[in-house]
């Protein structure tokens, strides 16, 4: 889903074409295409937009409009591994706001906010890549950061 955001590979038009081919003939293909592009390159490259637009018979502005609407689609790759901390109500009730400053200060990772990971009886919770973490506290959140920084999931 999120891909290797901290290891942004250089993208090529050929790879975008390849993604487009995979979705040829689908109903409403734009979101799955953008999802794959984001996953492959850690962002939706500016230069990919006209290629996608042309293939789907859309204007560049339309594709841009979609990219900018959704929080998951990044315009530039993250420079550090991303830790997504849940800061919604149920995790706030379990102390998420006490963890946020610790993560914000940590220069090894980039902190992103998400609103709910569906782990609301076990918060505070976080997502790194496709790996979920819950019952976070000041101690184990440090382990999580160390793991994320090394680019390995538990």
């Amino acid at each position: 889903m999120t891909g290797n955001a901290h290891d942004p590979r250089l993208w090529t038009p050929q790879e975008v074409e390849e993604i487009l081919r995979r979705h040829a003939g689908r109903e409403g293909p734009l979101m799955p295409i953008l999802g794959d592009v984001q996953a492959a390159f850690g962002h939706v490259p500016e230069g990919a937009v006209p290629i996608i637009a042309a293939a789907l018979n859309l204007s560049r502005a339309e594709v841009h409009g979609v990219v900018s609407f959704y929080h998951d689609f990044r315009r530039a790759p993250a420079s550090r591994p991303v830790v997504k901390l849940c800061r919604a109500e149920a995790c706030q009730a379990r102390g998420a706001e006490q963890l946020a400053p610790l993560l914000e200060r940590d220069e090894r990772i980039e902190l992103e906010t998400v609103y709910c990971l569906g782990l609301c009886a076990s918060g505070p919770s976080a997502l790194v890549g496709d790996q979920v973490y819950a019952r976070l506290d000041e101690t184990n959140v440090a382990d999580l950061v160390a793991l994320a920084a090394r680019g390995s999931a538990l």
């Binding site: 999120t2 569906g118 609301c120």
Partner: protein, 521 residues
């Protein structure tokens, strides 16, 4: 020996994968014949990872097992000794015994990815009966059940289906709303991971009932486990005749695709979700036309929440009447309630409508996890009202909560202890609305930004009376000038916080950091 280690995200987030790997390694090393099943979660999230061992007397549980404990548990098992993590027969745990599980009947019990297991435990009976009685009778069973949409709005599902069934079009669609964005909710997620064929069966019945042959499940990107589980199950369902050109060998065909969201809360709103599926910005559409008549790609479309669709197989198998026998007033059937936040026994509790809020929070939930007094609960997600314990007599049903200026929404209950600052929670509600607004209406887009600023001033103790009056005015404007419930219902948490916890808005200017509340300590 059959050992169950949940594959549910709430278990994996606290080490269940490592537990399963360790168990596998130890069993192989000792030459023990152990079959490991990655079941769904029983919904007792404080106990995860909850390892279960099948015995002749029933399944015996071991709670909060860490990978480092697996060896000791295994030794105890082999030697027939006790282990401190043992919680006895899982079915006898009061939290489970007190439930009425119709929708979650199989979740946590079966192997969620085994279609044979699904069939052996009552699965596919609903679809078989729908095929037998035909589309019109199937719709009428759902009408008779009194089922109302579990996604939040509570619209009668059967009536929606009748509308789509009556429309004629070359193509109709079934869309399953699995965007589950509300904080404090995870029932959709648990079901996708713990009993995915149930959702597929519900969608297939819906397709048969209204004459739709294609479907989509729209899952939020924050749910990587659920996405994988549904993709795998759909593949198996296709091979097993639960999807495809001939459902269970009948003349009815239905197939579906999994689609993944991209982090927009508003895309849970049904028309925004349809826009997103079509590949556009998730901007809310004005209604009418109803999606049941003009929905996905302009075609008649049933869009239902995961839990609504998952209730349907029971309704078809046992009859709408059997379902309607549970519940109270105009809230029929059962509701998978989610206890979340600062609560001791958090998790999934399915029960008939009518249980009181106090029973849920105090008796079943066991009060707060922190051990401090409960001060507030938010019911129904980020657009739901905050209630103090003085309102714990409220019975859990659509009407009672509406009368109390609240909503049950997707039935999430978030518990807060007495360290909560309700002025900050009110501010958060406005900030959330500002962050997630689709931008179509001014009261929502601009109002929420202004609301956040004004609440900041109130928190800082600046001209509180004047600013509170301004917030209330703004809330009125948002209520009546918003196209959808994001802008329209954000006033619920804000106004309820002001009404029930006025003291939090009239504090001396407090230091700006930390979440704790100086006036309590």
């Amino acid at each position: 020996m059959r050992i169950f280690v949940p594959g549910d995200a709430a278990a994996c987030a606290v080490g269940a994968d490592e537990v399963a790997r360790t168990l596998e390694r130890l069993a192989a090393g000792r030459g023990l014949a152990i079959e490991i099943v990655r079941n769904g979660s029983r919904g007792m999230h404080e106990m995860e990872p909850l390892l279960e061992v099948a015995t002749p007397a029933g399944r015996v549980g071991y709670a909060r097992v860490a990978a480092g404990q697996v060896e000791a548990v295994l030794d105890a098992l082999v030697e027939g000794r006790d282990h401190p993590a043992c919680v006895g027969l899982v079915e006898e745990i009061p939290f489970l015994r007190r439930q009425t599980r119709l929708t979650f009947a199989r979740c946590g019990i079966t192997d969620p990815q085994s279609l044979d297991d699904y069939r052996a435990n009552g699965g596919l009976e609903g679809l078989a009966r729908a095929i037998e009685i035909g589309p019109e009778a199937a719709v009428e069973e759902v009408v008779a059940s009194g089922l109302r949409g579990r996604g939040g709005a509570g619209f009668p599902t059967g009536i929606k289906w009748r509308t789509a069934a009556a429309a004629s079009a070359p193509q109709k669609y079934i869309v399953c709303n699995a965007d589950e964005g509300d904080s404090g909710t995870f029932a959709d997620r648990m079901l996708m991971e713990g009993d995915p064929f149930l959702i597929i069966e519900g969608m297939a019945i819906a397709g048969l009932a209204v004459g739709a042959t294609r479907g989509y499940i729209y899952i939020r990107s924050e749910y990587p486990h659920a996405i994988k589980a549904m993709e795998r199950a759909a593949e198996t369902a296709r091979r097993g005749g639960l999807l495809g050109p001939s459902l269970l060998g009948s003349t009815h065909g239905f197939d579906l695709e999994i689609r993944v969201g991209a982090g927009a809360y508003v895309c849970g709103e049904e028309t925004s979700l349809l826009e997103s599926l079509e590949g556009r910005r998730g901007e809310v559409r004005a209604k009418p036309p109803l999606p049941a008549l003009v929905g996905l790609f302009g075609r008649p479309t049933i869009i239902n929440n995961v839990l609504s669709l998952a209730a349907v197989p029971f309704i078809l198998a046992e009859g709408g009447k059997a379902y309607a026998e549970f519940g109270m007033g105009r809230s029929r059937g059962t509701m998978p309630i989610q206890l979340a936040g600062n609560v001791r026994n958090g998790g999934l509790f399915e029960t008939a409508f009518g249980v009181t809020l106090g029973e849920l929070v105090e008796d079943i939930g066991g009060g707060t996890l922190s051990g401090r007094p409960v001060r507030a609960v938010q019911v129904g997600g980020p657009l739901g009202a905050y209630f103090p314990p003085s309102m714990f007599h409220l019975p859990f049903d659509y009407e009672s909560f509406a009368e109390a200026d609240g909503l049950i929404g997707h039935a999430g209950i978030v518990v807060f202890d007495d360290s909560v600052d309700m002025a900050r929670m009110a501010r958060f509600a406005m900030q959330f609305c500002a962050a997630e607004s689709c931008g179509k209406c001014t009261p929502c887009r601009i109002g929420s930004v202004r609301g956040t600023e004004i609440l900041d001033l109130i928190v800082a103790g600046d001209r509180v009376d004047e600013h509170l009056a301004l917030v209330e005015d703004l809330c009125e404007t948002m209520k009546f000038g918003s196209l959808c419930a994001l802008g329209g219902f954000t006033p619920y948490p804000v106004l309820s916080a002001i009404r029930h916890f006025p003291e939090d808005f009239r504090r001396e200017a407090a230091p700006a950091e930390g979440g704790s509340n100086a006036f309590v300590d």
